[in-house]
Subunit: 410 residues, 2 copies
């Protein structure tokens, strides 16, 4: 059976930049293998969510996998929680959290608790499993000062305000339902406020913090949830498409999206999520995953980091790594493999944030209708044979090329 790879260079799309003489990083970069890939592909431009829509990485990937983010996404919490291995169930409300430091007046003195690296597992243990009325609290630590919270119970909503004021020297806020008549979200806000209060009570004198204070470190004496979302009911990828999917990614959030729809997560120890990441190690992991799976989603992060950093040179350097990665995949995947190379959104270096500009896309494999596009850039691909397509089209096109899609009708 044919294989499929969806390779997403996070935030690769860009705008014409003054420092590149009006070229985008893709136009300025020397990427002979990616250009060869484009010449052998059918190319186009892609709106991952909708035309002109500024996509997040999570919502974009949900859309790229063929799920409507407007239906399934109410916040990144459920995907963050899934990404660190928590079992989010439909109807749960999940949050990403920071361990933070507050003073006796509940004023935040450090949102990241001195970027604590040790002992968060013990702190998590102290709050995990408690009940707030009839609601169950599940908490798990993540990397450094991060963690995820699940509130489990009947009739919960996620349309609430944050407790985290998002800057220091401000008091912890009281969460409220955004719509006063939204009883489900009001119930969640109550649980969140209670959880924050109890986390302070349970953590302020915790041995881990007693030791930190002794060592002159900021204690991780409170947990502040944010980005809450309701755990959606998403059809498993394998059921939706009849193929086995895997994910090779560098970020918990993308792994979380993939995990949420039941894809197998392949971790790549050499993948750092930064400029120093090892793209060939990721490519090898993709090839390995294809031995037992039909389809691999891969996200390489650093082009987005470069965009946020306002660093066109960094994006161009990252493209050199992606160029080698594409070469490796073209040469080392089974003969009947279809590879789609695209981005989840633009992160223009002069904007330093995601934009709604479309991204380049090229689809490569034995039976594609190649076009006249000779280089992989936003502007060249825009005139390609695919035309302008949407993220929700990708899996239809891929499963069609892979010949695993059921016919609709006779």
């Amino acid at each position: 059976m044919a294989k499929g790879i969806l390779l997403v260079a996070d935030g690769l799309g860009d705008r014409p930049l003054k420092e590149l003489d009006g070229k985008t990083p893709l136009e300025a970069a020397d990427i002979p293998n990616i250009d060869k890939f484009a010449r052998e592909s059918v190319c186009g431009q892609l709106d991952t969510i909708g035309t002109g829509v500024r996509a997040g990485s999570d919502t974009a990937h949900i859309s790229l996998l063929g799920y409507d983010p407007y239906v399934y996404y109410t916040g990144r919490g459920p995907f963050e929680a899934a990404g660190i291995g928590m079992d989010v169930k439909q109807g749960d409300v999940a949050f990403r959290c920071n361990f933070s430091t507050v003073d006796d007046n509940m004023v935040i003195t450090d949102r990241r608790a001195g970027r604590i690296t040790e002992g968060t597992d013990l702190l998590a243990e102290a709050v995990n499993g408690m009940m707030i009325d009839d609601m169950q609290i599940l908490f798990k630590e993540s990397v450094a000062h991060r963690g995820a919270l699940i509130i489990r119970g009947a009739n919960l909503g996620a349309d609430i305000t944050d407790t985290d004021p998002h800057h220091e020297n401000a008091a912890v806020l009281t969460s409220r339902a955004k719509d006063p008549e939204d009883a489900a979200s009001a119930r969640t806000a109550y649980a969140v406020n209670e959880f924050v209060k109890r986390s302070y009570a349970l953590l302020k004198d915790h041995p881990v913090n007693v030791k930190r204070i002794k060592e002159g470190l900021h204690p991780a004496n409170i947990i502040l949830p944010r980005g809450g979302g309701v755990g959606p009911s998403m059809a498993p990828f394998a059921e939706k498409y009849g193929i086995k999917g895997a994910c090779v990614s560098e970020t918990g959030l993308i792994n979380g999206v993939a995990k949420y729809v039941g894809m197998t997560i392949y971790n790549t120890p050499e993948a750092t999520g930064g400029y120093d990441t090892d793209c060939i190690a990721m490519a090898k992991n993709i090839v390995k995953a294809l031995e037992t799976h039909d389809f691999v989603l891969c996200n390489v992060k650093a082009a987005d980091v470069a965009g946020h950093d306002g660093n066109p040179k960094g994006k161009i350097e990252m493209l050199a790594k992606l160029d080698e990665m594409i070469k490796y995949l073209m040469e080392n995947t089974p003969q009947d493999t279809y590879i789609t190379f695209t981005a989840d959104h633009s992160t223009p270096c002069n904007l330093k944030d995601h934009s709604g500009d479309p991204v380049a896309i090229a689809m490569w494999g034995p039976d594609v209708r190649t076009d006249h596009v000779t280089e992989y850039t936003e502007r060249a691909c825009a005139l390609g044979g695919l035309g302008r397509i949407k993220g929700s089209d990708i899996m239809n096109i891929m499963t069609n090329l892979m010949n695993v899609q059921e016919k609709f009708g006779a």
Copy 2:
């Protein structure tokens, strides 16, 4: 008033083929008149149902006529039945059927009853009109071993399993509702099982079969329904668009779709549905239909046959006939006629089945905004002025050009 023709070359779209040096049949064919037509047209690429969606001919034509197949299509039965002149009503469940041969143990020995050609009208008479509890049974024979069944009654569903095992030396299956809680479909499954049982009782000693057995032919001693669908409630074409529509087609299924929405069926005796069909006879029939109708849907079948046969040469030969047909239509239709030439789906010769690849489309007529496309191929049209459009756009564009569409707003 302007006239409109929607000419659909069934399964015409294809992929680059090795045996054609990487060209598609459209690219390899010599089609001067179709190319001229494209030069005088606005061209594009078309996803008949959705981008990347593998369409059936029935669902594709439903979509091309501006009806959403995801709303109106639950199976091909209702359209097959309408195509042979049965009056399918909303809520009926209709099936396509085979006369088959079973032995005394209800094991199928011939799914097509020796491809019976005579006497099926008498066999149909024997089963038509019976009641199964409060459900009415309507049955009509079609070509050769084929027929169609309508079950009429309250609260019927069509989400059931087949009685036809789809291969020989297997026992007739018991139909069941796919969802055990779907009472409407369970009722239909019961009626189907009863109909199959009674068909055997009524047909096994029928004079037609007694004679066949004497002659050493397989008796048509059972009827096996499949492809059940609920008769949908579709607005008549004339009401929906305010114009009179006709259909010139070679297949019962397409005639059935057209008939279902109230279009007039023009049969063309010279049209065989095969490579030997007479395209000019069909073109003449279109011109005749336009004398009393505003719009004609025409489907020419054989390009699809060539695709299913894996026969690029056959597709190219068929294109020569279509080339003459287009020439005839350009020269013999009223001055103010708009002609759209497209396909309902791709049937790539190397896949031998329908694919979800987009198809070429060209729209020709006095007021179209012609573009730079100089030849009618998948890849050339993809870069045309229409861009990438959907089947559901066609009637809007046609009725706009024909100037029969009501303005939405002031």
